[in-house]
């Protein structure tokens, strides 16, 4: 199996889906000739032509609105927001239309589109290039919100997103784009949207996370085991909404202790829903308050300080030790 970066794995997913299905078209700012500012669409313009890979004018609502029309017609548009922080320009198109077309038309029309957007910190980028606001979309009925945690599941989840009959917001961590390589089989792999995964088994504590935070969480879990012998079970959500609470609820029932780790600001963030599901479904098993290790309730600072904002393995480790001691 070839070892691919996440950028290459995403590119593979797009390339294979485009080859297999002429309904799949790409559009966005600089996705064509330039191959995308992160090169995720590299080579696709050359392979499939301007008819399948559209360089658009600089207008996010335009991109999303046009994608909705294409999707209603029966195509499977995959549009790119250059950074997730620019998806707000299209927020009304997503909430008013992508999310509601099926419902509004009582099933006559639907919007099988994917909105891809790089999100999150860690690559010394400019303002508006480092935030993590998946909660906006997760709270929006009619949308799905997916965040892969590595090359292999990124590829398999993107394939699933493209084939999904409903609109999927697909956030890609810039920090993971070229962070490491993983074996990604050339042959098709699809991971169902709406399913989480246990990435490390353990019986003493449950850590729920996703996206770029999975790596520091895994590192912290290893270190925790070394330092204390306690075994953390780690769950990668993969899909934020619809949220799969089965694995983390079952896990917390076993371990009695849980925490959630994400980059997003804490208050009203995705972690609150995870905590609440645990309260609703595992309350009587919990031996300690569920912990949140997250971004703070401020805008992520410019890059000289972003590292201090982002949760890291050490913060997770300390929180885990406190949780075990609680």
């Amino acid at each position: 199996m070839p070892k691919l970066t996440m950028v290459q794995a995403l590119n593979l997913a797009l390339q294979q889906e485009m080859a297999a299905d002429d309904r799949v078209v790409l559009l966005g700012e600089d996705v064509g000739v330039d191959g995308g500012v992160f090169r995720v669409t590299d080579g696709l313009y050359e392979a499939f032509g301007a008819e399948r890979v559209l360089d658009t004018p600089l207008a996010e609502s335009g991109i999303v609105g046009m994608s909705i029309g294409m999707a209603v017609y029966g195509l499977r548009p995959v549009c790119e927001m250059q950074f997730s922080g620019f998806s707000y320009q299209a927020f009304h198109q997503l909430e008013n239309h992508a999310a509601r077309m099926r419902w509004r038309s009582q099933g006559h029309f639907h919007v099988p589109m994917v909105l891809r957007a790089p999100y999150g910190g860690g690559v010394r980028a400019l303002e508006h290039h480092s935030e993590s606001r998946e909660a906006y979309y997760a709270h929006t009925p009619g949308l799905k919100m997916v965040i892969p945690s590595g090359p292999r599941n990124a590829r398999a989840l993107l394939v699933a997103a493209i084939r999904d009959p409903d609109p999927v917001i697909f956030f890609e961590s810039k920090a993971l784009y070229r962070a490491y390589r993983e074996e990604v089989p050339d042959k098709e792999e699809v991971l169902p949207i709406g399913t989480s995964q246990i990435t490390r088994e353990g019986s003493d504590l449950t850590i729920v996370t996703y996206g770029a935070m999975l790596r520091p969480v895994m590192a912290a879990a290893e270190e925790l085991q070394q330092q204390t012998g306690a075994a953390a079970e780690v769950i990668d959500l993969q899909t934020i909404a619809p949220l799969d609470d089965t694995l983390f609820v079952a896990s917390a029932r076993r371990t009695g202790r849980a925490m959630i780790v994400h980059e997003a600001p804490r208050s009203f963030g995705p972690g609150a829903e995870v905590v609440t599901r645990l309260v609703e479904k595992a309350f009587y098993y919990l031996e300690a308050p569920i912990a949140r290790v997250t971004g703070y309730d401020i805008v992520i600072p410019l890059f000289a300080r972003e590292k201090s904002y982002l949760p890291n393995a050490d913060r997770v480790l300390r929180a885990a030790r406190r949780l075990i001691a609680a």
């Binding site: 008819e51 609502s61 029966g74 419902w103 006559h108 409903d166």
Partner: protein, 368 residues
């Protein structure tokens, strides 16, 4: 190193064929066949009468808020009359007669105005998007549809409606610009009815016409007398031919007037004068079309009465059918449908919860 005048790509024109008195510019008469002319006439009368009936239903509390179309029949019917069945229509919300022309049943309109999601299910599954309230946001879908049609090698065109107010939204701009760049086969039809709720046209934008906004996108733009069904038809036909031939989009501004309130929740007396309304009453689109048809001997007094009676009956039938259906509709459990292709676990759980609540409520005789 001169200060030079820049020649524009397009010039903006105004078209009028049938004047308020019913006089026709023979040279420009689009030569619509007799059957279509009469179909248009009936549709305009139906639109007007249906408005009146809906207003009565609303005042009786049998339906909710809705936006009357009276006065704008020519503007939207003249436009959709140009379309082929396989062409797309992307409405705003004040084109009820056009929706009906395209196959939506009166019953579906009534149900929608009565707050039933099922109204959409009654609409025929043709190439017509459902009405969506957010002003201006639908035009981009027209561009996507048009692009997709071309991608599929179809010669479909897409017609989208919007009001004068909608031209202020950023989405209007993005849609026009995308359509220009991709030369999408889209006809942008602005029903400029002079008001956006209480905001008059001149306070909406400082440009003298809406048609000239086309120049910002390298696109042809034309202003027509929107109460002149022949002019609307002619201008839209020209635009449709252009689009079908692969020559891209057109902006058609129809100058018309909203004769009634914005919606039934609105009181236009707060912001406009009776004189203004009266002035426009003299430009009524149906009366002048009637004169034209009478002069062409396509319509007689008897025929007019017959159309009126037939239309009223169709409306009555629809009202009856709608009220019967309403009694059987509205099972709240249906609200959990159509959120996604497959119900999510949370929605399924909420549905169960709702059923349990309903059962408990029934037991105690309280509210679910």
């Amino acid at each position: 190193m001169p200060r030079t005048h820049i020649e524009l790509d397009e010039s903006i024109e105004r078209l009028s064929i049938l004047d308020a008195e019913g006089n026709v510019d023979k040279e420009r008469d689009p030569d619509i066949n007799r059957e279509l002319l009469l179909k248009l006439y009936r549709a305009m009368v139906l639109g007007r009468r249906f408005d009146e009936r809906l207003l009565a239903l609303q005042r009786q509390g049998r339906i909710g808020t809705f936006p009357p179309i009276s006065g704008q029949e020519a503007a939207h019917l003249g436009a959709v009359a140009v379309l082929q069945p396989e062409d797309w229509m992307v409405p705003a919300f004040r084109e009820t007669a056009a929706e009906v022309w395209r196959g939506r049943s009166l019953e579906s309109v009534i149900l929608g105005n009565a707050g039933f999601n099922e109204a959409a299910a009654l609409a025929p599954p043709g190439p017509n998007l459902p009405v969506a309230v957010p002003v201006g946001s639908q035009m981009l879908h027209a561009v996507g549809l048009g692009w997709a049609a071309r991608y599929r090698g179809k010669d479909q065109v897409v017609l989208t409606f919007f009001g004068d107010g909608a031209t202020s939204e950023g989405d209007f701009h993005e849609a026009m610009n995308f359509a220009g760049v991709y030369q999408a086969p889209v006809i942008f039809v602005c029903q400029n009815n002079q008001w956006a709720i209480s905001i008059p046209r001149h306070a909406q934008t400082r440009s003298a016409t809406i048609a000239q906004k086309a120049l910002a996108y390298g696109m042809p733009g034309i202003q027509v007398d929107g109460n002149d069904v022949l002019a609307v038809y002619a201008a839209v036909a020209e635009a449709a031919a252009r689009a079908r031939a692969g020559n891209g989009p057109t902006l058609v501004e129809c100058e018309t007037y909203r004769m009634k309130m914005h919606t039934t929740a609105d009181d236009p007396k707060r912001y406009r004068t009776d004189e203004e309304v009266e002035g426009w009453r003299r430009k009524d689109p149906i009366l002048r079309f009637e004169t034209y048809l009478k002069r062409r001997r396509l319509l007689t007094k008897a025929k007019i009465e017959a159309v009126d009676a037939e239309v009223r009956e169709a409306i009555q039938t629809a009202v009856d059918a709608a009220e019967t259906r309403m009694a059987s509709l509205g099972d709240p459990i249906d609200m959990f449908d159509h959120a996604y292709a497959e119900m999510t676990p949370a929605i399924a759980a909420h549905r169960e919860e709702f059923l349990a609540e309903t059962a408990a409520a029934a037991e105690e005789g309280s509210d679910a």
